[in-house]
């Protein structure tokens, strides 16, 4: 039973054109703040504020630090809304919630930049699309058979993230400097990860997965902030590669294991659950510590997954005629949008949950690579496969208002079933090809479900993020090749 029922009135205070507040009421321990343009507000109203009610449920959890937040790409999830951000204070009985991280632990995006421009790629596109599709398995039944990992290897990856793969030759040492947290969560504890999670993960390292996961070859078609673009190494017409994937079956299993465990212990800690998917336990409890150890391991697996996919993307470029010596693919940044991390905000250490929200540290943050410190952290906002994605920069506003967080994508507006219905009788792959975008996908169903029209316009999310001051527009990327699971 939800604490905030369907049909119940939603009291909203409009603070600015893009920032809104739901004052604390009932079992809420803090206010909720959300970011939305007029159009996004209309979408929220059309769904009877279902996702905002989920945000209010998050605000009931113990030890939450004001406010409970959602980003402009908020949409209805399970437990936490997608786009939700919540920080918990370990010193004030704050909790950790596996449902507040999500099943795909540390799912995220990595942007690689090439030294090619769009015109240089043009005659090689078909060959490259095939090489990427063949080189990077996408779904079930097509697991990586060319990278054999023992249980010991996997444990090393769970502890070390992307670095053990770089050590084995799957990447360049400088890749690690351009990954959030250096591509490694500290305090991972492989012993907290179940045997079934290992079993599900062992053959899936270096695979994309299905659903909204993808690999895109794109080009920079617009630059909004010359200085930041220069710091990020982006220029007009430059070819980029965007990879979206997570911790695969290993992460899904870790989440399953701990949601079940937390539901069973919640009442022992006096935690009343408005939604069982919000199951939580105190950060400083045996269960909380065990989950954080397992989650960190799964997060490291996700970093390693994107590292291995990058390696095979580099190899595909070689197959397509772009040798790695003359045509380097460098990591611009790799960042996640489903995790819980200890960070310092407002002078205290809090555990920030981001579920479908991106870390967006502002200028000067010591965690950023030196060349990005003036501009702020690169923030990657993928759109749908037919339109565009964006590169933003983290801001001081995000640091003071959103625990250094920003939007993570466009957000769906159509259910998968509705999208499939809308795609009936159409050949979406041909339609995309007519628009100059090559699609390679393991199943037609995925292409139908992921059609452009099924998503909100990422530009609306980005304008709202920029307008609210929690991210700054830097560049726009247009797809040329889309590889889907």
């Amino acid at each position: 039973m939800s604490a905030f029922r369907e049909g119940a009135a939603m009291k909203i205070k409009h603070l600015t054109a893009f920032k809104h507040r739901i004052p604390r009421e009932g079992r809420m321990k803090v206010d909720a703040t959300f970011y939305a343009s007029g159009a996004i507000l209309e979408d929220l109203k059309a769904e009877d504020y279902a996702s905002l009610r989920q945000l209010c449920n998050v605000a009931t959890l113990p030890g939450i630090v004001e406010p409970a937040l959602s980003m402009p790409d908020i949409h209805w999830g399970y437990g936490f809304p997608i786009g939700g951000v919540a920080a918990f204070d370990p010193q004030r009985e704050g909790v950790v919630s596996p449902g507040g991280v999500g099943f795909d632990i540390n799912c995220g995006v990595r942007l690689l930049v090439s030294e090619l421009d769009r015109e240089e790629l043009a005659t090689h596109e078909d060959r490259l699309a095939n090489a990427l599709y063949e080189g990077i398995p996408s779904g079930v039944g097509s697991s990586r058979r060319d990278v054999k990992l023992s249980r010991k290897d996997l444990e090393e990856i769970l502890l070390g993230g992307a670095a053990p793969l770089v050590k084995r030759g799957y990447g360049e040492p400088e890749d690690l400097d351009h990954i959030e947290s250096g591509g490694r969560f500290p305090n991972a504890d492989p012993k907290r990860v179940s045997g079934r999670a290992y079993e599900r993960g062992v053959s899936q390292l270096g695979t994309l997965g299905s659903g909204n996961h993808f690999l895109e070859v794109q080009y920079v078609d617009e630059i909004y902030d010359e200085e930041a673009a220069q710091a990020f190494g982006l220029s007009l017409r430059q070819v980029t590669i965007l990879i979206h994937s997570g911790s695969r079956g290993l992460g899904h299993q870790v989440c399953q294991d701990y949601v079940e465990r937390f539901i069973q212990v919640a009442s022992r800690y006096g935690i009343e659950l408005g939604d069982r998917q919000l199951a939580a336990a105190p950060i400083e409890s045996p269960e909380g510590e065990a989950y954080l150890g397992a989650m960190s391991g799964a997060a490291n697996f996700a970093f390693a997954n994107r590292q291995l996919i990058s390696h095979f993307a580099r190899r595909a470029f070689e197959v397509a005629g772009f040798g790695s010596k003359e045509h380097r693919l460098s990591v611009l940044y790799d960042l996640a949008h489903n995790n819980a991390k200890f960070e310092k905000h407002g002078g205290r250490e809090v555990l920030v949950h981001r579920k479908g929200a991106t870390r967006a540290f502002g200028p000067g943050n010591p965690e950023l690579p030196k060349r990005y410190r003036f501009a702020g952290q690169p923030v990657l906002v993928p759109g749908d496969m037919g339109r565009y994605s964006f590169v933003l920069a983290g801001t001081k506003g995000a640091m003071s208002e959103t625990f250094g967080s920003s939007a993570h994508g466009a957000g769906r507006k159509m259910s998968r079933r509705r999208a499939k219905k809308a795609a009936k009788g159409r050949n979406l792959v041909r339609e995309m090809e007519d628009k100059g975008i090559l699609v390679r996908a393991a199943s037609r169903a995925t292409v139908d479900e992921e059609m452009s029209e099924a998503y909100k316009d990422a530009a609306e999310v980005v304008e709202t993020t920029h307008g609210a001051g929690i991210g700054r527009k830097v560049a726009r990327l247009r797809p040329l090749i889309v590889v889907k699971g």
């Binding site: 949409h75 399970y78 437990g79 779904g139 069982r276 393991a442 199943s443 169903a445 995925t446 479900e449």
Partner: protein
Amino acid sequence: MIRMLNHTADVGFEIEAPTLEALFDEARRALLMMMFERPPERGEEERWVQLSATDLEFLLVRWINELVYNIQSAEFVPVRTEIRIREAEMGGFFLEGLLAGAALDLEGYRWQGEIKSATFHGLVVAPEGEGWRARMILDV
């Protein structure tokens, strides 16, 4: 009876059946309808399954996750079940029985995409008239 739900980000189903065992088998059928355009109808391979949980909702989540594991990791698609669900003496519920199935054939069954997990969000398993009904959202 199976009715698919339109959840914006994920997928879900509502099902009804005369007995608990039939309800759990309907859930299996709904799962296969989500994963495949042409799910298999026959399979000779057999596997034994045993699950327990504190309540029926918990048991349905474990059941679906067990099936997802069988399909996506063990590459075994259960097409028929012979299961028994009983209340355990010490409380909670116990499910055991046979899964009969076929090897995973992505192209042949027209694979539609992965399921990450069953969720507890909006989950219902309840008696309805003389039978049972359930509602479940899955993360994809």
